[in-house]
């Protein structure tokens, strides 16, 4: 979406709910529906079919929803093209795995620790790279991502190199162990929903507007008094934090991690989710993650030709919907109507900004 072009879909008068009450009702309808799917329909399907395969896909999807939503925060909303996101996912996974297998720390400690360690690395990476613009920044993240991969692969004393780390304990909370597939899924889903909710509150706000401003033109945003440097660093750190959380979830649900889970192609897969869903659109990022995880599984029957079909579908969806399945303009309108409190008004009832 280009800010210079008024987008008819964003024009408030067509969206303003007729009355406060019905607006409220509508606002919760989508939230309830999504929660019902995540915590009702999917667990019911897992229990009903008793299929571990289905549960595994549901868990993977939830993890990738976090990754895709967090990459969307930095690449879509703040406009910093990062193609090393999987490396921070890897740092989180290794942090959680090492803390729990070597030091025996419980999940309640390793989960935030993984996020914080990934965020710390993100901060260290962001400091020198933030003055890079456009493709230079993208390549710097690519380079750093590959460096992290090389370290994970070759620092055998700590990471066990290509053998990976085995026997990571499952999620457990104050004695409650997520040892069945259903409970494992539920734990991951709760955390994923919380992550997406935080990102939603960050993006769909004045703070999010500032990020979008610096994406469109950082020099202009700078001259308008937005602290561009700081916002860029913050958005990158937030994204890497959530990537670390996703990594910890992967480590604790799959019990085994290896460096190949965190290579360049994984970063590209996450980027593809964001772009297919709609760059800059948080609902799009979620839809994109669902699409890119479920599609290859749905195509399992055609076996060897699966990756060709995935590539072709990805190509077609980008070709036909270059702005994504849920383009940013549409998505912002949708979020405003269905998940937030609509428009704030200034004198004369003119709607502006976020409430």
């Amino acid at each position: 979406m280009d800010v210079n072009v008024p987008d008819a879909r964003l024009m408030p008068d067509t969206l303003a709910p007729p009355a406060a009450f019905s607006g409220r009702g509508r606002r919760f309808a989508w939230t309830l529906l999504l929660l019902a799917v995540a915590f009702g329909a999917v667990p019911a399907a897992i229990v009903g079919t008793g299929s571990s395969y289905l549960a595994q896909i549901a868990i993977t999807t939830m993890i990738f929803v976090i990754l895709s939503a967090s990459l969307n925060h930095v690449t879509g909303t703040a406009g910093l093209l990062s193609i090393g996101h999987a490396a921070f996912y890897g740092i989180g996974a290794y942090a959680a795995a090492l803390l729990s297998t070597r030091l025996g720390l419980p999940f309640i400690v390793t989960l935030p620790a993984a996020g914080l360690i990934a965020a710390l690395f993100g901060f260290l990476v962001a400091l020198p790279t933030m003055r890079l613009v456009s493709i230079y920044f993208a390549v710097a993240t690519l380079g750093i991502g590959e460096m992290i991969y090389v370290v994970l692969l070759n620092w055998v004393d700590v990471t066990r190199g290509p053998m990976g780390i085995r026997g990571i304990p499952p999620i457990e909370l104050f004695g409650w162990q997520a040892d069945t597939l259903l409970s494992r899924y539920l734990a991951v889903a709760v955390i994923a929903v919380a992550c997406v909710w935080v990102l939603h509150r960050l993006t769909h706000s004045y703070y999010g507007n500032a990020l979008r401003a610096l994406r469109e033109d950082d020099q202009c945003a700078d001259s308008m008094g937005i602290n561009v440097e700081r916002l860029k660093i913050e958005s990158f750190v937030v994204a890497t934090f959530f990537a670390g959380i996703a990594g910890a979830l992967l480590a604790h649900t799959s019990a085994y991690i290896a460096p190949d889970n965190f290579r360049f192609m994984e970063s590209i897969l996450i980027l593809a989710m964001v772009v297919v869903g709609g760059l800059g659109s948080l609902p799009g990022a979620v839809v994109g993650a669902l699409f890119m995880i479920v599609l290859p599984e749905a195509l399992r029957d055609i076996g060897d030709y699966r990756m060709i079909a995935v590539g072709a579908t990805m190509f077609l969806s980008i070709l036909l919907l270059p702005k994504g399945m849920l383009a940013e303009g549409t998505a912002l309108g949708f979020v405003r109507r269905s998940f937030s409190r609509g428009w704030a008004t200034i004198a004369g009832g003119t709607p502006v900004g976020w409430k």
């Binding site: 230079y136 380079g143 590959e146 994406r215 360049f264 072709a312 190509f315 070709l319 270059p322 702005k323």
Partner: protein, 305 residues
Amino acid sequence: MVFDVFFLQQVINGLSIGCVYALMAIGFTLIFGVLNVVNFAHGEVYTIGAFVGLMVITAMAPPLLAVVPLVLAVGAVSGVGLERIAFRPFRRFTDEASQKSRAMREATLLSSLAVSIVTREIMMHIFGGDMQGIPSGYLLQQPVAIGPVMVASGSLVIFATSAVMLGALQFLLYRTQTGLGIRAVSNNQLGARYVGINTDRTIVTTFAVGSMLGATAGILVGLYDGAISPHMGFAPGVKAFVAMVMGGLSSIPGAVACALLLGVSESIATEFLSSGWKDLITYSLLVITLVFFPQGLFGHGRERA
């Protein structure tokens, strides 16, 4: 003294790897110049070059000098096809909002990636995922003694081919009408269109030229290393991409210099580190360069969009 000779050999090996990176990096630079989009499928052109070369060699056993023009032609065709499939459809949006839109640019980047995934998988189906050997008669691994230094004949062939291709490219860019068009479109696509340059045709030409260089690099490496696989294009593609950015995106001399630098530093690094760590050198060089030269070594200052 022994160390010195050995060191020199490593430098020469590194330079020949660097030349391969340079040939690919030039393709990246040319295409990025005219379109402002990274072509992620460039590595696949390199692989196609190698496989077509191998097919021709096994089927007809022609002399080596006949293989190169054929690979050049295949490279040109695959470049044109790539442009047609992955890039042209995205130029149908000509309004200003779409052209400046980041979503559109990222979409084009990923469409080239999608095409590269499909191409690679198709090649996997046709040729299998394993390494394929090159018939030994064509291998360029005979040692040649130059004074005390032993050099593989492949290095010499790579040097010679790269020199010829760089010369030809220089001629094309600075002495012909087509080259003038390419430079004009790189400089300002809209301006070039206003003065009557057929930008679409220029873009196609650029893809053809860039892919010819990439495909040649592919077959040269195949003959030098003796084995090719559908995945071979990935690593040099990333390295060439890095070299292009280190050189400053739009500068061909910069890309070539950085590609050679990467090749030599990798080759020397394998002497001091186990080979697993050698990529760390490449990417550290990249990050250090970008920290001190945010526009690359030979880049221009930042333009206002």
